[in-house]
Amino acid sequence: MPKPKIALYWCASCGGCDEAVVDLAEGILGVLDAVDIVFWPVAMDFKKSDVEALADQSLLATLLNGAVRSSEQEEMVRLLRRKSRYLVAYGSCACQGGVPGLANQFSREQLLRFVYEEAPTLGENGRARPQLESRDNGHSLGLPQLDNAVRTLDQVVEVDYYLPGCPPTPNLTQAALQALLSGELPPRGTVLAPDIALCDECPRKATKPQDLSFAQFRRPHEMLIDAEKCLLAQGLVCCGPATRGGCGAQCISGNMPCTGCFGPTSRVRDQGAKLLSSLCANMAGKDETAINRTLDGIPDPIGTFYRYALPCSILRRGECTAPTPSTFNP
């Protein structure tokens, strides 16, 4: 009996999700034994035409990581959707837009202008924008077009399962693959991570006080972080309360606050808004001056609250009115 076919693809991605599959370590061998990987650009030499040649729905599953923000990515995503029985949005970028999603604070024009024309690191030469088509010696070279916005996978095609995480942890990846192979799958559209916030499994939960009140917010580089105490109690913005668990609280164990990569629970429509709501409600300030002074401790609210989830937030898009994208300013 032929082994089930699997494809892995990356869109606007850092490559970490592909690493995560490799990180299954010994587990990867089990995977390789059980399936036929027919397309994995980062690791194997199959071409797009190989995918096109497959029959529709002949792939058991495609693990697709990265957000969609170019014409090529959209084309590939649609192709893989056609060819796959199950399409899994793998990793935060595919699920929620991920860090590349922060580009949605700016217009395409602002991005291109800054990167190719105005960045301080540019020399005098080479201030030219990439062309959709360039001709050289009678040959025509093409580049994909950058979309106006970064989109999540499910804003382009229908998605069957979501594996959140930046990247998804080995245990969850293993479990997902197991489920796909055994055919014992939850309802389509399920997020394959526990539907409860990270605090539930956090090793520091007991040290969190019942009357936490924020007079100040601090950032990790501004302090020596106590290795035992709840990070919120130390004034750091830890997104744990607003983020799904299942990752084993690895960041916390590394003495760093959670940044929200597993996304919100199913009961929340906008992770950033809920995190904002909870943190601010528990602030100590009682008048505008005191409140604003405390809020100055979060100098990049969009980057803090929507680090992974801007493309799937309620307002979803951003329009930048600043002359240069603010994330480049330290």
Binding site: I196, C199, K208, L212, P241, T265, R267, N282
Partner: protein
Amino acid sequence: MNSNGTNGDIRIGFYICHCGHNIEGMVDCAAVARDIAKLPGVAVSRDYKYMCSEPGQELIQTDIREHALNRVVVASCSPLLHEHTFRNAVEAGGLNRFFFQMVNIREHDSWVHTDRAAATAKAIALARAAVRRVRFHRALETTRVPIHPDVLVVGGGITGIHAALTLANGGKKVFLVEREPSIGGHMAKFDKTFPTLDCAACILTPKMSAVRAHENINLWTNSEVVKVEGYVGNYTVTVKRRPRYVNEELCVGCQECIAACVFKEPKFPDEFNVGLGKRKPIYIPFPQAVPQVVLIDRERCLHFKTGKCKKTCVEACADRHAIDFTQKEELVQVRVGNIIVATGFKLFDAKRIPQYGYGRYPNVVTSIELERLVTSSGPTGGEVLLRDGTHPKSVAFILCVGSRDFKTNRWCSRTCCMHSMKLAQLVREHTDAEVTVFYLDIRAPGKGCEEFYDKSLKDGIRFVRGRVAEVTDWALREEEEGKLVIRAEDTLAGVVRRIPVDMIVLAVGMEPQADAQDVRRLFNMSCGTEGWFLEKHPKLAPVSTFTDGVFIAGCCQGPKDIPDSIAQAGAAAAEAMALIDRGYIEQEPNTAYIDQADCSGCKSCLPLCPYTAIAFDEATKKAAINATLCKGCGTCVAACPSGSIRQHLFEDEEIFSEIEGVLTHA
């Protein structure tokens, strides 16, 4: 039928009320009904003249039966007025009362807009929102909160006294807290009351004595409420009992200590006589004070100020040992189920109208000062005297001082016309003086009052209609020398007049107490624009407030005379008794709740609840909400970062659907 109240199929009955012309005059009700009829799930869509009437309510009930409705939406007036009415109607029709949503298209639409098309479009948007929302409603039950049978009455004037006695006679235990050292309030300062010219003390003091004697009343004078916690049926009130330096249990009111005081003569201004009389540092507020106990003014007592006093007062009280300089302020806590606030009023400060000369000319007095002069137990023994001790030959009353005035207070203080005429008659009884009343209008409602006005006219009291411009002592003619001249337009005669008089009485208006804002926060009440405590509804609920279990009565709710104050005192007592005798209050089930499977134990909600309704269970490591303590504000619901706290009646889906709905129609 599942908890959704359906077998899967939502069937909504929509009703839009014309409210006579009130809504139909600006909103095309038929058009709204037609629009809503097209929405999915709407089984019935009607417009009707008066939904809150009997036939209107029956219409709903009939439709529930005949059309198998499982949701009802009524677009009419404010839910604050009739939500309860319609919920009752829905329940009588056999449906859970919370499968109902109301749309406010009168107070928020037809009454405030002038363009019929825009008002109709708005009504449609709001109605669509409600129709979407009501689908998510679930069957809920009201909870019953038990009512503690004791009552707190704040304020020991005639209103507080009457409320306390009514409740006590009904078998309820009452804590009556009064800031001053004696109960009696403003009425204790009056000589006679209008229109009957009853002696105020004669009708008041028996009630005051009854308060002291009543086994069901705990009387705490020289005390104030400093903290109120809890909610209807279960208030915990902290009362600060200020020291009198005299033991109330031991003092019998013989007043030997006052006679023995090292101050041989009274030297200090006497509060009860509004500064016209004098008292010693050890004193009794007035002869009929209740409790009949002296007190020591710490600021003026030689012992407290210098430590070097012979303490003759202590000697005089040798056999009872009632004087106790070591007394300290005490904080006492009581538990009550209801609170009646009857803190009264203060009088307008006449110095704010400098052209009337109060504070500059010694013979310009306020009505309350004149009241003390005419009282036989007052500082002049009932003689109406000028400052130089002679009798006035002419007295003028200026009405509406600090009332009906754009520059000071805009309201009518309701009692001053009658009060002034009463004083005018008393002045005529006590002296031969000519009396003139300068008025804008004479307001004499109430039984016997118009007749009183008639009698005043027949008795030769003069009335000049016109707002007094100023009081001056600059004489222009000989007959004005040494007198105070009133300049006023006599509007009926059509001339400006100068009228010289010996004494002028300013009918100062009523104002909210100086600390009204602090007091109302203490009891979780609101104030109206004018500063009086806000009643729940000006016509239908004048003694209730928006906080269940807190009632208001008397002048703290707005200016009124003694009969109306007593009526409100009785009303408030009756409202409280109704709650107590029923034994419970039905709590709106808009409480928050946590699904234990969802909660991660992040503790973000715990600090947010002002009622400590959320507790952390160390065993399960999760939070849980006590539904009896929860008051339904929803703050924790909005805050929960994993969406694990929800609120009955205000579920996220319900609100999101309303938002979607109001935006469907341009």
